[in-house]
């Protein structure tokens, strides 16, 4: 399986990259990690006329502190999730999630922003972006704009990115104070895309009994990662215990939009989403109790 012909550019500056995308009016693909794009090129399922390789734009490779949160540049590799001290300190859930993302060899090339821009609904990073209410910076030759995760993910492999835009930065704001997070996934094998996955966040009231905040985002269950606010609302104000978790689980079952494929049916995905809701909430609660 060999790629079809394309013109290849590896600009040294962001301006150059953006100019190229502009010139080629929607017929260009950004090559960052390439772990998703290259298989598609090899199989000729993607046939762009131009490929813009941004790997030489060194200034895009960063993980920095920002207002209690973290900003991640377009070239930061997925491996950074496991090696960056900042992430371990401020957002350990990202570090935890890295365990599910493919394998070390993929993570050494694949980028965090690339995974978010690729928007595979069964991938972990888009779900994390949604759960953590990340802000995406979209750059074009005309300037930059910021899009929240809620509106960034639109459909299967489709985001708010225009054809002439590059996702140059993702900002993960500081998670809610004293919140604990859990990410769980069911997949056929270790490292595979999720059949069903969940990112759950929980914060308790000052009395440490009642749920003050909750975030429930599911992946592998629709055209985008899905945040089920109804399920979150079923938790808020409730005692942090099985009854509430069960209510959230049932609500989640209805709030997602799964489909059938050879690995799982719609019913399976709904049922497992409910199961994972409870398991993830239990895990998050346990983390809270430990602290």
């Amino acid at each position: 399986m060999k790629p079809a012909k394309f013109d290849y550019y590896d600009p040294r500056s962001l301006e150059e990259a953006l100019a190229l995308l502009d010139t080629h009016q929607g017929d260009g693909k950004i090559l960052a990690g390439g772990q998703s794009l290259m298989p598609l090129l090899n199989m000729r399922l993607a046939r762009p006329n131009i490929v813009v390789d941004i790997n030489r734009i060194k200034e895009l490779n960063y993980v920095r502190a920002s207002d209690g949160g973290i900003v991640i540049g377009a070239l930061a590799r997925q491996r950074a999730l496991q090696t960056e001290q900042l992430i371990a300190e401020r957002m350990p859930i990202l570090q935890e999630a890295a365990y599910y993302i493919a394998h070390p060899q993929i993570r050494s090339r694949g980028t965090i922003c690339g995974s978010i821009a690729h928007a595979d609904p069964a991938a972990e990073l888009p779900a994390l972006a949604l759960a953590l209410e990340a802000e995406m910076t979209l750059s074009s030759a005309k300037g930059t704009r910021s899009v929240g995760a809620e509106t960034f993910f639109q459909s299967f492999f489709t985001t708010a990115l225009e054809a002439n835009e590059i996702l140059t930065e993702v900002r993960f704001p500081a998670p809610p104070k004293d919140s604990a997070w859990s990410v769980l996934e069911i997949s056929r094998r270790h490292g595979d895309f999720a059949i069903v996955g969940i990112v759950a966040g929980l914060a308790l009231d000052s009395d440490r009994q009642v749920i003050a905040q909750a975030r429930l985002v599911y992946f592998g269950v629709g055209p985008t990662p899905i945040r089920v606010k109804a399920a979150e609302e079923a938790l808020i104000g409730q005692h942090a215990e099985e009854a509430a978790f069960e209510a959230a689980a049932q609500s989640a079952k209805q709030g997602i939009d799964p489909s059938n494929d050879i690995h799982a049916s719609e019913e399976y995905r709904r049922a497992v989403a409910a199961t994972l809701t409870k398991r993830a909430l239990r895990a998050a609660l346990e983390k809270l109790r430990k602290n």
């Binding site: 399986m1 060999k2 790629p3 079809a4 012909k5 394309f6 013109d7 290849y8 550019y9 590896d10 090559l31 390439g34 772990q35 290259m38 298989p39 090129l41 090899n42 199989m43 131009i50 490929v51 390789d53 790997n55 365990y99 493919a102 394998h103 070390p104 060899q105 993929i106 050494s108 090339r109 270790h190 490292g191």
Partner: protein, 160 residues
């Protein structure tokens, strides 16, 4: 010409320079243009790991990289492990001793991943070793002898 690219790489310490089609994958470049056929092609979709080489010290799947992306990089392939006189690297020696190979087709990929793993995590425990090896498929060995080989290599590299 944007459809082709001159690629200059160091492979196992030797410089190679060649103009190739931009769409040429790194593994094809290594096998055909550089002439090092030790790195094998197993799937061309980044799953089996047979094509794994080191780029600037990191294990990467060369079937899902373009040769152009390696321009200016330091690459290491399986041919760079043994000494020039044929003396096997301790990792290769350990794999041989523990029968961590049968047909050998997946072996170069495993060796390169192991090289980076033991370089960066010399004290890797079984769980970490398995995580790193999970990116490789083998159909012959069932993996256990490969795991034992890596453990032996790790202990030998820690106490040379």
């Amino acid at each position: 010409m944007a459809t082709s690219r001159t690629v200059k790489v160091h492979v196992n310490g030797v410089v190679y320079e060649q103009t190739v089609e931009a769409r040429k994958t790194l593994v094809d470049f290594l096998r055909e243009d550089v002439g090092l056929t030790g790195t094998n092609v197993g799937c061309e979709h980044g799953v089996c790991g047979a094509c794994t080489i080191l780029m600037n010290g990191e294990a990467v799947r060369s079937c899902i990289m373009l040769a152009a992306q390696a321009d200016g990089a330091e690459l290491m392939t399986v041919e760079g492990l043994a000494k020039a006189g044929g003396e096997l690297h301790p990792i290769q020696e350990a794999v041989r001793e523990k029968h961590g190979l049968q047909c050998g087709f997946c072996t170069p990929g495993f060796l390169m991943t192991t090289y980076e793993l033991l370089n960066k995590h010399p004290d890797a425990d079984e769980e970490e070793i398995k995580e790193w090896l999970s990116g490789h498929l083998c159909r012959c060995t069932g993996y256990q002898d490969i795991l034992e080989s890596v453990k032996l290599a790790a202990s030998r590299l820690r106490n040379p």
